[in-house]
């Protein structure tokens, strides 16, 4: 059978963002995949030259629409380390709460898109209805629906009032109930299993070797979660990384579903321990030195390298996002799969191309 080349993307119904793959297929089986990136490069890192280190918070938030809170948190942690600022304990807990709300909304968005990718439209709508509750909570507590803009150097900009706390906890309870109702569909349904079990297997060794991050790595059996390093208030909360050992699409699906439930639990724990203190300390002076900050995003580990020279403007901001780390594993998974499974497979790494290209 002769080989044929099929271009996949950058415009494809399953992709929310532009990613191009040149697929070499033989008899509908993918033999080779080559990626092409660079359709949404915006040059946000370059903006450090004309925006000062405080304005950069709002800029790094816009690297990614879905995990904006974590980007700002990671950047602020880096600057705080450079300036030797001890963040007040209440601010650390509030950062955890907003970050976990972000994780819930990102994972639910993905679960919905994933269901949509293999044609399970009604599951997609059920999941997105649940997701809407978190979006409302974010708007009511932080001010904006998606780009919450709550982090600042030295702490957080807003507090969560007692009545909002009660509202969040009540909503978390409802959401948990609704998610558990859908659990059997996500885990045992014939349609879901048929399209995911045994497809796109990434072995534990390969995942490690290729530097996969986040749920892609944990779905292959490696318990690595940046939250375990105990940044913000995570060191005081009780949780274990969620790991599945199969390494296929189904395993990655389960990791994300279970992480959503874990995030609900973490929000509960954080509210139970929420201390009373001021929200932010006023930073003094200017950052100087080099630092690497790491935070666990819904898609995996994000890494910020910041270089400051004691001026208002930073010398360099380098962002390595989880999708960038997950593209080599994706290229490892694709050869050998059916052409029809390519959209589902691409979605299982939860690609965020705007993040990758910045």
């Amino acid at each position: 059978m002769a080989r044929s080349v099929i271009p996949f993307g950058p415009q494809h119904p399953v992709l929310p963002e532009p990613l191009h793959l040149t697929l070499t297929v033989e008899d509908e089986i993918v033999k080779e995949a080559l990626p092409k990136l660079g359709y949404v490069h915006r040059g946000l890192e370059k903006l450090t030259e004309i925006r000062d280190h405080n304005q950069m918070i709002q800029i790094v938030e816009r690297v990614c629409g879905i995990c904006s809170c974590m980007h700002a948190q990671c950047y602020c942690q880096g600057i705080e380390e450079l300036m030797n600022i001890q963040v007040p304990s209440r601010a650390e807990y509030l950062r955890v709460i907003w970050a976990e709300m972000h994780r819930i909304h990102s994972h639910l968005l993905w679960l919905g898109l994933f269901a949509d990718a293999f044609g399970f439209e009604s599951l997609f709508m059920q999941i997105w209805r649940i997701r809407e509750r978190v979006m409302d909570l974010q708007e009511a507590t932080a001010g904006n629906r998606v780009i919450v803009s709550v982090n600042c150097v030295g702490g957080v900009r807003r507090d969560i009032s007692a009545e909002n706390q009660k509202w969040i906890l009540d909503t978390m309870k409802t959401m948990e109930k609704e998610l558990l109702q859908l659990k059997s569909t996500i885990m045992d349904d014939f349609t879901v299993k048929k399209r995911t079990v045994g497809i796109g297997v990434l072995s534990k060794e390969k995942a490690y070797e290729l530097g996969a991050a986040g749920p892609t790595l944990r779905g292959s059996g490696i318990a690595q979660d940046m939250r375990q390093t105990g940044y913000a208030a995570y060191s005081e909360l009780d949780f274990e990384p969620i790991v599945e050992t199969d390494g296929d699409c189904y395993a990655r699906n389960l990791v994300r579903f279970n992480e959503t439930l874990q995030a609900i639990d973490l929000i509960r724990q954080a509210f139970a321990k929420l201390p009373d203190s001021e929200l932010a300390v006023k930073p003094k002076g200017l950052p100087n030195g080099e630092v690497v900050a790491r935070v666990e995003q819904p898609r995996g580990e994000v890494l910020y390298y910041l270089k400051a020279t004691g001026k208002k403007y930073l010398d360099r901001v380098r962002i390595r996002t989880p999708t960038f780390a997950n593209i080599p594993p994706l290229l490892e998974m694709l050869p050998g799969c059916d052409l029809a499974d390519v959209p589902v497979l691409i979605l299982t790494i939860d690609p965020c191309i705007s993040c990758t290209e910045r």
Partner: protein, 119 residues
């Protein structure tokens, strides 16, 4: 099969969506929306202009004008937090869609000088 319970429940309950242009969601109290200014209090110091990450604000101290490009504003609320006299505030509704991108220019009227005491 697993969805049966959910499907039946959906048939019995109300719509999850609303008929948007006719029925709007009530805004949350603390939501960050359109940027407004209380011009009488403004001292034209220009802190909002310097802090704004999207650089959508222009302040002219001489002409006593404050100008914002509402379509460049990213609703982050940095200027509102930074304002020393707290004359900036945000509505809790987003800016309505428009056909043209207009700037909002606010000019402070000259304050009446206290009348010189007549001998």
């Amino acid at each position: 099969m697993f969805m049966t319970k959910t499907v039946l429940k959906n048939l019995m309950t109300k719509y999850a969506t609303r008929l948007y242009p006719f029925e709007k969601k009530e805004a949350y109290k603390d939501a960050r929306g359109e940027l407004k200014i209380n011009l009488d209090k403004c001292i034209f110091c220009g802190v909002c202009k310097m802090r704004c990450p999207s650089q959508c604000i222009k302040v002219d101290k001489e002409a006593k004008t404050w100008e914002v490009d509402p379509f460049s504003c990213v609703y982050c609320g940095i200027c509102v937090d930074a304002c020393p006299v707290k004359c900036l505030y945000q509505e809790n509704q987003y800016l309505a869609p428009a056909e043209e991108k207009d700037l909002v220019l606010c000019i402070q009227e000259a304050k009446a000088e206290p009348a010189a005491p007549t001998p």
